[in-house]
């Protein structure tokens, strides 16, 4: 069914996975550098010039490209299959894919030529080749167009089905894309107004403080753009995969609306230590960030309860016995469940990061990569691997190459990530070791750091192996000679309570209006203040790497 969408989704996933392969390969190299094994000189002749060029590749391809391609592909697929309605404008969705690919190539070339070694955050006045910025902008624009294709399809479905409640998966997918459209206005403004004209030499100076503020306007909600597709799977699919039901579907819908409302007006929690942002606004965003934990805590309860229903239906008994009864032999489930556990640790660390003054202790230390490898590097990435274990066979119409390899993959990721993130967290917390730094040659690095660096490096190598297992499986599946005997269906969880959710959980206008108002209140005065004191004084620096 929906052959065209299958093909499109396959392409999005394929490009995303190639990106992650290259970007991910940099990870273990970074870990080796930290324990004194500098492989970069040896890699000069394949064009890798420095640790920092490698780190740029790692950040851009993993955090920006892999995620965005997988997400747009997966949510397009999920929307169509959830609505059981084909795309209204498939050409638009294909255009989205092509725009994203063109953007990716435009950004990748300067990165590989070492003319954009400015990391994935591209803080000005470090100045990369203009193609880097234009390419990244096109990736975002392409993802918008993909969202429009989804919205038009959803709109048509609504017209065709008056009075019918939107299926959960389609609603959640569309809310995620809508949030992304609003959230990316920050980065779009930063690029189009400040950075691109300046990198082209049309204007002399840039305002780094204002640029950072626009960047983090998008930079926090981007993490929810990564996470919400994983939540779509955890709420909408995993309960079915474990033979359970979605414990409270109305609350699941509410959670998505709350993420639309609260993901954006919290970006200043990344700027607690910025010089020219008033402390009062930092506190406002700190409080809003705390409220953002509520939908996550709702999620924890709801998903665990849904899995418990499955575990008990499969014969599990007792307080914890249902956990053993879950289908641990199913790699799609196992990967996602381990992703949830790692994500829970990441969430707890996130509470620390968000805590205004505690942030002083860990800001820009190795604690931060320790934190986000649990979230985007595991909660999201390992969940996407879990999704790929059913989705890629479905798209390729071939059975998964090996269940066993997939299970090993999930568990090795879990083990490797525990080691790596534990080491990184402690380095940051106890020793303040800076992130984004060649710790292996830093003159101030202390021998006390060694055991932790070694622990983290060991974890990084296990993760590298785990990554290889994933790619073995994907290639083995796609190039297999077997074909599926029966078609795989997208898992769709049924709600425990069959009564439809109330209408206000299926109504867009009030939520969108409230979102815009909250953004204006939380960002408006600060932006007016920064823009009326515009400081376009910084020239670009493009020869520091």
């Amino acid at each position: 069914m929906y052959a065209s969408v299958k093909k499109l989704t396959g392409w999005y996933l394929g490009v995303g996975m190639v990106a992650l392969f290259i970007g991910g390969a940099m990870g273990p190299l970074q870990k080796l550098e930290h324990v004194g094994i500098n492989v970069y000189p040896a890699l000069q002749n394949v064009g890798l010039n420095s640790y920092y060029q490698g780190l740029t590749i790692h950040g851009v391809l993993n955090a920006l490209v892999w995620t965005t391609f997988f997400i747009v592909g997966f949510l397009t697929f999920a929307t169509v299959n959830s609505l059981e309605r084909d795309l209204t404008h498939p050409k638009l969705n294909w255009a989205s894919f092509y725009i994203m690919v063109i953007g990716l190539v435009m950004a990748a070339v300067p990165v590989l030529l070492n003319t954009a070694t400015v990391l994935f955050t591209f803080y000005p006045p470090l100045q990369a080749s203009p193609f880097y910025y234009m390419g990244l902008t096109l990736v975002v624009v392409g993802s918008w167009v993909g969202g429009w294709g989804m919205f038009l399809t959803y709109y048509a479905w609504r017209k065709e089905n008056p009075g019918v409640q939107t299926p959960f998966i389609a609603l959640a997918s569309n809310i995620t894309m809508a949030m992304w459209q609003i959230a990316t206005l920050g980065i779009a403004t930063e690029m189009l107004w400040l950075i691109i004209p300046w990198s082209l030499g049309w204007v002399d100076g840039i305002d780094p403080q204002l640029a950072r503020t626009f960047f983090w306007f998008t930079g926090h909600p981007i993490v929810y753009f990564w996470l919400l597709p994983a939540y779509v799977s955890w709420y909408g699919m995993v309960p079915k995969q474990v033979g359970g039901k979605l414990f409270s579907e109305p609350l699941a819908r509410l959670v998505f609306w709350l993420f639309l409302l609260l993901s954006i007006p919290v970006g200043l929690h990344h700027q607690y230590l910025d010089p020219s942002v008033p402390a009062g606004w930092k506190i406002v965003h700190a409080v809003l960030t705390y409220s953002l934990f509520i939908p996550s805590l709702l999620t924890a309860f709801n998903i665990i309860a849904s899995m418990e229903i499955g575990g008990r239906a499969r014969g599990g008994t007792g307080l914890l016995g249902w956990i053993r009864a879950l289908p641990w032999d199913n790699p799609s489930f196992t990967a996602q469940n381990l992703a949830m556990i790692l994500f829970a640790f990441g969430g707890i660390g996130g509470l620390t990061n968000a805590s205004y003054n505690l942030n002083l202790v860990i800001h820009n230390t190795m604690w931060i990569p320790g934190h986000f490898h649990l979230t985007v590097g595991s909660g999201v990435t390992l969940t996407f691997f879990g999704i790929a274990y059913w989705l890629v066979p479905k798209l390729a119409n071939k059975p998964l190459f090996s269940n066993k390899v997939a299970l090993w993959q999930a568990w090795t990721w879990f083990a490797g990530m525990l080691l790596m993130s534990n080491g990184l967290h402690i380095l940051g917390l106890n020793f303040g070791s800076p992130r984004r730094t060649m710790l292996g040659v830093a003159p101030y690095a202390s021998s006390d750091w060694q055991p932790l660096l070694i622990e983290a490096a060991l974890g990084g190598i296990i993760l590298g192996v785990s990554g290889l297992l994933f790619y073995t499986n994907m290639l083995g599946t796609v190039f297999s000679k077997k074909t599926l005997t029966e078609e795989i269906e997208m898992p769709v969880a049924e709600p425990l309570d069959p009564h439809p959710a109330p209408a206000w959980l299926d109504t867009w206008r009030p939520w969108v209006v409230a979102t815009v108002v909250l953004i204006l209140v939380s960002y408006g005065p600060l932006l007016v203040n920064l823009i009326s004191n515009l400081n376009l004084t910084s020239p670009g620096f493009n020869a520091l790497w």
Binding site: Y52, L55, L119, P125, L126, D207, P208, Q209, F247, S248, L251, L254, Q271, Y272, L273, D274, P275, S276, V277, P278, A279, K282, I283, A286, V287, Y290, F293, I294, L297, L298, F301, N302, S355, Y356, N357, L358, N359, V361, H363, N364, P434, R435, R436, T437, M438, L439, A442, P443, Y444, H499, A501, P502, L505, N533, N535, T537, S538, F541, L544, W545
Partner: protein, 162 residues
């Protein structure tokens, strides 16, 4: 309204209370113990900031550690790729030191070991925080924002003398 299972309702109430407690603790401690985060000071032109006579960071390095009163110091640190100037600061034990840091080129970071002094250093902006040093010793301050290929060599030391 939505039907919510009583156990789930209790969970929601419980965790919300927990968050309220955490949040209050964070805010109260900020005020009660005087934790500061950087706040706006002034906006400068980074092209002129190191020019003598144009700004305190244009003064000779040796004059940029200023004793305002006994045991009360102000330090004007200029960050640039890839060093801090001054890169060595000496103060007597018991001193309260206010750090005023700006950059003349790209973004940098400034984190002083053993204290809560941690800030982003941006060209055109002044990052300012204060700390008191009750123990003699050598404290590193390290650049923690990527600033080019020499980033990992960028640090300095505060020496608190007995």
């Amino acid at each position: 309204m939505i039907h919510v299972d009583p156990r789930e309702r209790n969970f929601i109430i419980g965790t919300t209370i927990l968050l309220l407690i955490f949040g209050t603790a964070v805010l109260v401690s900020s005020f009660a113990f005087g934790f500061q985060v950087p706040a706006p000071v002034e906006r400068l032109d980074p092209k002129l900031v190191a020019t003598p006579g144009q700004s305190p960071w244009g003064d000779p390095v040796e004059e940029r550690v200023r004793e305002l009163a006994p045991n009360k110091y102000e330090v004007y640190i200029l960050a640039q790729a890839w060093n801090f100037q001054p890169r060595e600061i000496r103060v007597p034990v018991g001193s309260t030191v206010t750090f005023m840091v700006t950059s003349k080129d790209v973004q940098h970071g400034f984190r002083l070991d053993g204290t809560n002094v941690n800030m982003m250093v941006l060209p055109g902006e002044v990052a300012k925080l204060t700390a008191t040093f009750d123990e003699a010793g050598t404290y590193n301050f390290v650049c923690h924002e990527y600033c080019g290929v020499g980033h990992h060599t960028m640090y300095g030391q505060l020496i608190v003398e007995p």
